[in-house]
């Protein structure tokens, strides 16, 4: 399963929204994710991919696509190392 799909699963499980409504352009508000949902998602993603997402980076995410791109980059860097 792709990174995007895995993150979609995590967010859909936490927010209890239908996974199909989540696109790269979706904002957290559109996904009906409040601040606690986002923090829970960050923790779950960190655990799933073995990475750390600093708060200052997370605050820059404007939409789901930003979140996915960040994780994809971090996972790629990790694999390179």
């Amino acid at each position: 399963m792709s990174i995007e799909e895995q993150i979609k699963d995590i967010l859909a499980r936490i927010t209890r929204v239908d996974k199909s409504i989540i696109t790269r352009q979706s904002t957290f508000k559109e996904i009906k994710a409040d601040s606690l949902d986002v923090v829970q998602a960050l923790v779950a993603v960190e655990e799933t991919f073995g990475i750390e997402i600093p708060d200052e980076e997370a605050q820059k995410f404007q939409n789901f696509g930003d979140f996915v791109s960040y994780v994809e980059n971090r996972v790629a860097q990790k694999e390179k190392v």
Binding site: R16, K32, D34, S35, L36, Q40, L42
Partner: protein
């Protein structure tokens, strides 16, 4: 569940305005009963020093569990997840999850306790966020209100889980066989209220619960409903207003009777004796605080300003909630709705 007949309560010893002094003192009082085992969670050195002030009675069962950190009132509750996963409240929650404790009690930040419950214990199937349920006491002895402040912004499906929690509470603690459930709104018509309330109306109408429709503020105390459902913002405002009525009614009456000193003294006395019982403070004044309903374990929270006697009462009521099987009852009610695809 219980171990050797004792209910195990993990106490966030660092949570509360007077922590750890009053929390430890309250725990010592609660531990005088022989059916409870208390784990004081916090920095060992601090708690050992505090506990050394007391001579424990025979059979008292208090143990210290190390947690090096704690959440301060000015810290964001979500810090408990990201920055302080080993804080006292988080460690206490993890003990419930692992089965080392039967209940968690905290008088610290309600938000941090709720977030610890969500993240480290987990929610029951179909429930998104915990809710606070409370009885309205003497003015409306057969009525409960939910949510009393755990969820300031609510999504429509949360109102349905609030109704289920309220119904379980009314059946279990008020002995109401088939609780009448109402939605608090600005009018009795289905079209009244904000978007969330209107959407919740449709969900409740089709829920199979004994939903009697909307009620207005003026109906809260008249017994039209046994369970009044509202978001935590509205519920908390009403709770605090309700708690203040006694004091202001007494002051107003005393002022009106200023010219009649004997009557004034009598009125003052009557009010002092009658009105404390009308406080709802979560479940009731005696029980101190409230249970977070919908969590997969018993989580009891209390006002930050609680002193030792209230702390002891709250620990006692956490123990009673475990004995009463509130989580199991909630689970079986929710299962009916989950099977029907309504949650």
């Amino acid at each position: 569940m219980a171990q050797n007949g004792k209910i195990r309560v993990a106490v966030d010893a660092m949570g509360g305005d007077y922590a750890p002094e009053e929390i430890v003192k309250g725990a010592v009082l609660a531990a005088e009963k022989d059916d409870v085992k208390i784990f004081l969670v916090g920095p060992t050195a601090i708690l050992e020093k505090e506990l050394a002030k007391y001579k424990l009675t025979n059979g008292s069962s208090i143990h210290i569990v190390e947690a090096s950190e704690f959440i301060r009132e000015n810290e964001s509750p979500v810090d408990v997840i990201r920055r302080k996963p080993n804080s006292s409240v988080a460690v206490a929650a993890k003990m419930v999850k692992s089965g080392e404790a039967d209940a968690l009690f905290s008088a610290g930040s309600s938000g941090a306790a709720a977030i610890s419950a969500i993240q480290f214990i987990g929610m029951l199937d179909g429930v998104r966020r915990p809710a606070l349920v409370g009885s309205l006491g003497s003015f409306a002895p057969n009525t409960v209100m939910v949510d009393l402040g755990a969820n300031v912004d609510c999504k429509p499906d949360q109102f349905l889980t609030f109704a289920i929690a309220g119904a379980v509470y009314a059946k279990k603690f008020l002995n109401v066989a088939d609780p009448k459930i109402a939605l608090l709104s600005t009018g009795s018509e289905e079209s009244k209220g904000n978007d969330a309330v209107r959407e919740a109306y449709a969900l409740l109408k089709n829920s199979g619960l004994n939903f009697v429709g909307n009620i207005e503020g003026g109906d809260i105390l008249n017994g039209k409903a046994n369970v009044i459902v509202c978001d935590g913002f509205v519920g908390n405002v009403i709770l605090k207003f309700y708690e203040s009525i006694g004091t202001y009614a007494r002051l107003w009456t005393e002022r009106k009777l200023r010219k009649y000193p004997p009557l004034r003294a009598l009125a003052g006395l009557l009010f002092r004796r009658l009105f404390p019982a009308t406080k709802i403070s979560g479940e009731s004044e005696k029980q101190s605080g409230g249970i977070l309903w919908g969590v997969d374990g018993v989580v009891k929270i209390a006002h930050g300003a609680s002193r030792a006697p209230q702390i002891a009462n709250a620990i006692e009521s956490a123990k009673e909630a475990v004995k009463a099987g509130v989580v199991e009852s909630m689970k079986s009610e929710l299962a009916k709705f989950n099977q029907g695809g309504k949650l």
